[in-house]
Symmetry: C2
Subunit: 218 residues, 2 copies
């Protein structure tokens, strides 16, 4: 998942620290990032810092601006479109697989998450965290580590974009809660076809809501 795991080694620590800094806006797209500054910030040496940054680069969160070092990746509208196309097909498949493969306890946990969500509609940050946890749970239920990893990566990239999540809009938050509930119920009912359609629709709605924010090109 994307959780704050207690990193056992310093490279993981660097990876998580920088990733989280990007996710929460401490670092913005276009910001330059150097091995030195990162190492100094985290009180570690350059080597593990470099390893963490290389990993972020491999995942697409950082871009190697040819002769100027690493920068937080800016995603243009074309890349955003590609990401949402990819997310739609993968989240659709994940929802179907979750409906087929989730264990009883997993489904219980998924339902419990949706029950909790309604109470969070007023709290934007809590909703954002909960949204990630919810989708993470579905990916878990699908029992497909590859689709899980890929979608997690794409979610991180999207979160890094300064246009942020569509959840800043409270109307969208209300809508999301309904979409989540319907999706969770379809999965719990083991209705794979319905779950797939609802998941795809959910991702499309998310993309549409984000485009409506109408923020300038990165």
């Amino acid at each position: 998942m994307t959780g704050r795991s207690t990193s056992s080694n310093l490279a993981d620590h660097a990876y998580e620290a920088v990733r989280d800094a990007i996710a929460d806006g401490t670092l913005s797209p276009g910001d330059r990032i150097s091995e030195y500054k990162t190492a100094d910030w985290l009180k570690i040496s350059r080597t593990p810092a470099r390893e963490g940054l290389l990993r972020l680069q491999a995942e697409g969160l950082l871009a190697n601006h040819p002769r100027r070092g690493l920068v937080v990746a800016s995603i243009d509208n074309e890349a955003l479109k590609e990401i949402f196309v990819a997310r739609e097909v993968m989240e659709r498949a994940i929802a179907g697989q979750a409906a087929r493969n989730a264990s009883g306890p997993e489904m219980d946990q998924l339902i419990a998450l949706t029950d909790r969500e309604a109470g969070l509609v007023e709290d934007r940050d809590a909703m954002i965290r909960h949204n990630r946890a919810f989708h993470g749970m579905i990916r878990s239920c699908a029992h497909n580590r590859y689709l899980m990893k890929f979608t997690n990566t794409l979610e991180d990239i999207v979160a890094a974009d300064r246009r942020g999540t569509s959840l800043v809009d409270i109307a969208r938050r209300h809508a999301v809660i309904g979409e989540h509930r319907a999706l969770a119920e379809a999965i719990a009912a083991r209705d794979a076809g319905k779950a797939e359609d609802l998941a795809a629709h959910h991702i499309r709605q998310s993309y549409a809501a984000r485009l409506k924010l109408k923020l300038p090109e990165s």
Copy 2:
């Protein structure tokens, strides 16, 4: 792509060398791999060797056996199933996108590739190389860098498996040529729906053919 690009830095060189060694069977699943041996083999120092290996690990080609270092990843039947589920949904989407987005020259090149393929049916290794080039071309045509990267990674993982490709069977090679031709023609005709179905079918056939090889669990 997976091409033998002239790596500009040593870490990339290490990455490519080890990846290719895995792909061509020089290294087999379960084989231990150390930073030291890799560095010595390639006449570089541990640092870039380590970076290349870490990248391979992040992609899933190497596994970090807890107390024994890195080993070439063994994929069990469950993982193979997950991979093919993921490949099916992504290759399906890629085929559809290719039918919609491919430029004229790209389609010409795709058709040219299929024309060349028929003459290769007797040459197993040439077919294997051509198969990768063909799928790489379709991924290119789709103009979706994320789906392209993910499917390339999965293809590398599958290639690493010692059970190898189903293309070792000449009957399968004949079938593949037909499936490729049909798929390329659907894309060239911009029939996205048909291309999607053909691509999904192709992946399922590939999985079925591989299972029929009935080789022991890794």
